[in-house]
Amino acid sequence: MHDKIFPIGPQHPSLKEPIFLKLHVDGSYITKAEFNLGYAHRGVEKCAEGYLLDTALHAVQRTCGICSQCHSLAFLNAVEPMAGIEVPDKVYLQRLLSAELERIHSHLLWGGLMAHEIGLETLFMYYWREREHILDVFDDLTGNRVHHSPDLIGTAKRAFNRKNLDFILEKLDLIEPEVKELKEVMRSERVITSRFKKHGMIPRKMAIDLGLVGPTARGSGVENDVRVHDPYMAYAFKELKVKPVVRNECDSWGRSMVRCDEVFESIGLIRKACEMIDPKEDVPKRKNVFAKGTYGRGRSEAPRGENFHFVKVENNRISRIKMRTPTLANLICYSRIMEGEDITDVPVIMMSLDPCISCMERVAVIRNEKKEVWTSHELFEGKKHD
């Protein structure tokens, strides 16, 4: 029995995220897997400290480029009840439109990268061509393609009018038939399904014991969706009920089909919400808010799972914020599902779990050719303990 270590390092042409996987292999079968993180830490939790509430919102929104609106909604769910303000219906419906458009954009990005891992470059380009239409919609609605930030506490920066809503519906009619064809390719082509089926199995009992969230758990039969169990903002209206997409095959194919079907569910929600918005109404002007109490908790449904924010407010400024992202909740299962697989199956399994490592953090200070790791305790006091 040989035992060698095969590194899939933080920079690799096939993996798109900076994670260091250490695989113990025997021939080409994996016997044990470990992982290492911390290559992309930026200290976002520390950056938002000491600022007023509206300004800290702009730091929190820039945590991640793909899922920037879900961090904004979780923060507003934590802070708006502390300020005790009434938010009108139109602002809730505008926030739902941005969140569902972001879900479509994230799943189309995932589809393209999955095709790239298998080696089908043309399919990658087809997915990202449909994604360009969604980015044009964001440019028209909010003013920017990525990091759009249309929210303020209690209100929004601008109100959507008749031209904006017509543009959304026109672009949705363009992409819906194309996405149906691309889903059919992923569902039935033999080249793709023979690499997906029966690999990366997560049994239902493991998904419940480890507390997994998002499409990773919904592909194994666990119905776990924040929009259904704890509806917030516009998801609590009667006409906009969400039906969760759940599958019972516990492998990579099941998780991929969950993501493809969620795009159509989001398109239906956006069409219903566009009918409910009154295009002539205006949003209220921005006012200064004062937060009472000390601690606030809020959560929202990101494209990758459940996102939870915990906020401590002192003197109307943020003094500690903790963001528990869905990738951190799912990280515990990475080393367990790789045992017994072949090395060549690793890119497909990693991509079917959809990691977004830029939302997770650590601090490292490099000094005098030796690498040191400082804890935030030591950073507060300015000197290193032994």
Partner: protein
């Protein structure tokens, strides 16, 4: 050593959402957040930890407590007994070594004039 497993078992929660540490007037407070499958609330339990005290780990009840406790140890210095990851540097534990002929020397300060 402080023992929290009995209180948390009484809450009858189905899964663990997060473990965080915050400071109040220089002392550490550990917050546990849990959730149940059939109700929309988030349950919370908090405990003050004085300096040089250890807390018993929750790994027997919930397996995903391992990662959250390791992060709390590395950021704030609160030690959890029974968790073998806590105390070891989880993030950046044993990555590839920096070579001796490194191009950058000295400490960096990030200021507006850099």
């Amino acid at each position: 050593m402080l023992n929290v497993t009995d209180e948390i078992k009484k809450m009858k929660a189905d899964r663990l959402v997060s473990i965080t540490v915050a400071k109040e007037k220089g002392k550490n407070i550990v917050f546990y957040h849990l959730a149940r499958n059939d109700s929309p609330e988030i349950l919370e339990y908090s405990i003050k930890v004085p300096k040089n005290e250890q807390v018993k780990s929750l790994i027997d009840l919930f397996e995903n407590a391992a990662l959250y406790e390791a992060e709390a140890t590395e950021l704030f210095g609160v030690k959890f007994r029974g968790n073998e990851l806590s105390g070891k540097r989880l993030f950046q534990g044993e990555g590839p070594p920096i070579p001796k002929t490194c191009a950058f020397k000295g400490a960096f300060r990030v200021t507006k004039d850099a």
